[in-house]
């Protein structure tokens, strides 16, 4: 974590296994406000599995998670996921139009505000999505469009931490730049992200620092 910044996400001594096989052992990562951190490591090292654990979709084998000092048990799991929000590598589509997909999560019990439609329309344009996409059935979107809709959905929910698993893998250079700029703005406003990318140049260009999934903050 950068000196002088407030800690937002703390991953303490977290071990992750897939089946019998240990993937990540005793990892420590601490991310501060305004930080974009790249998570690096070879394929199969457990980067995506770690993101699922941090998002609370799977249990760690050992270790502790905290967001702004509170554990998932203290916040409640649905609220934790809302605050530490995962955008999976393969974005899924909910039933209905793109608008329905964006508004859906504002109907959950843990939601606090109304769907910010004007902000959503603004982000559609900023992410280089065609304006006609708004009413389109989400299941008919291309992979790249779906990836941006997933990011847009996450942005509208304003989590404390974004967990982004290959967020630009299906995007062209223009759309990739738009995503990077938007996340930079979010970081400027105090947000932070842990990002898995296989592109070292992108990690270098976009992120404040990178951590190795097998070493963590000791690297």
């Amino acid at each position: 974590m950068l000196a002088g910044t407030e800690s937002v996400l703390e991953v303490r001594q977290v071990s992750v296994s897939l089946g019998e096989r240990a993937r990540v052992a005793g990892l420590d990562v601490c991310i501060g406000a305004g930080e974009l951190v790249a998570l690096r490591g070879p394929s199969g090292a457990g980067k995506s599995s770690l993101l699922r654990v941090v998002a609370g979709l799977d249990d760690p084998r050992a270790g502790e998670l905290r967001c702004r000092g509170r554990s998932p048990k203290e916040t409640g799991w649905p609220q934790w996921r809302r605050r530490v929000l995962l955008c999976a590598q393969r974005a899924a589509a909910l039933p209905g139009s793109v608008r329905d997909n964006l508004a859906h999560a504002f109907a959950y019990a843990c939601a606090s505000g109304a769907f910010p439609e004007a902000r959503a329309r603004e982000l559609v344009a900023r992410l280089k999505l065609a304006s006609g996409v708004w009413g389109q059935t989400a299941e008919t979107l291309s992979e790249g469009e779906l990836q941006r809709v997933a990011l847009l959905r996450a942005l509208l929910l304003e989590p404390d931490v974004f967990l982004l698993d290959e967020p630009t893998s299906a995007l062209d250079p223009d759309a990739t730049r738009a995503v990077e700029e938007l996340l930079r703005e979010v970081a400027g406003e105090g947000g932070c992200a842990l990002i898995v990318t296989h592109d070292p140049a992108q990690a270098e260009r976009w992120c404040d620092r990178s951590v190795d999934v097998s070493i963590g903050d000791r690297s």
Partner: protein, 267 residues
């Protein structure tokens, strides 16, 4: 209820053998069309004769005993067999689901049947096997079909729609919010057959119990009244059963950390 006028004409072995000729006809058709079903048809026909005869003798014995323990013993055996069959018919499974199906059928079919015999038909004593056993049989026969359809649909959608369910969870949905659509679709799938059969009862088909009573010489209008009670019993038991089973399976597949444990689904 009015007394039945007379019993059905008794059937002797020769008449049963004559009826068996129809199965032989089915076998001949299978051979002629090379369907390869002759062996299975023969075994199934033989099994049905043996099973029904055994049931006939057991029921006669239980009817004569007039003991609540014996009637409940038969009822529990029926529930256990039906629950095993409902789980076996589903293409996917979850560890412990047989127990869930047993509990579900016990709570839905047995309880609703006892309610019908004691409160609706007002049989005295409530466990009179002549009423309890056939009514339970019908509630279970239809209930197990509903349960297996419900279970199959629920496990299939939780398995194949995992990405969407986990997406909802990542967005802050509770496990109930994330599973609401698959749960209601599964319960609906289980209930639809009884709704359909109620809609066409008497128009397309004469239901089994009514047919049996008419054959046994009962007044058709009285037979209809019983059939109506049976249909409502099946509708109640199946709806309750599907809902209960869906909730029990849901609790096996989602933990209190609101995580979907899809690896527990056996394919």
């Amino acid at each position: 209820m009015t007394e039945t006028i007379a019993g059905a004409l008794p059937l002797g072995p020769a008449q049963l053998a004559l009826a068996a000729l129809l199965v032989v006809l089915a076998g001949a058709i299978s051979m002629a069309l090379q369907l390869g079903l002759e062996r299975r048809l023969g075994i199934a026909a033989f099994r049905s004769v043996v099973q029904l005869l055994l049931v006939g003798y057991v029921l006669r014995y239980v009817f004569e005993l007039e003991s609540v323990t014996a009637v409940l013993g038969v009822a529990l055996l029926m529930v256990a067999t039906a629950s095993r069959e409902s789980v076996r018919r589903a293409t996917r499974g979850v560890r412990g689901v047989s127990f869930d199906a047993f509990l579900t059928l016990l709570a839905s079919s047995l309880l609703t049947t006892v309610l019908v015999t004691s409160v609706v038909v007002q049989v005295d004593p409530w466990y009179q096997p002549q009423y309890l056993v056939p009514l339970l049989g019908m509630a279970l026969g239809n209930g197990l079909t509903g349960l297996s359809l419900c279970l199959d649909h629920l496990l299939e959608s939780l398995d194949t729609r995992r990405a969407v369910i986990e997406l909802e969870l990542t967005l802050g949905a509770t496990r109930w919010e994330a599973a609401r659509a698959p749960l209601s679709a599964a319960v609906k799938r289980g209930i639809i057959p009884i709704v359909n059969s109620m809609s066409v009862a008497g128009v397309v088909s004469l239901p089994g119990m009514m047919t049996g009573q008419i054959l046994a010489g009962a007044d058709p209008v009285e037979a209809v009244k019983y059939q109506v009670v049976v249909m409502f019993l099946i509708a109640g038991a199946t709806s309750l059963g599907c809902t209960l089973l869906a909730v029990l399976v849901f609790r096996r597949l989602f933990n209190d950390r609101h995580q979907l444990r899809w690896e527990r689904i056996a394919r």
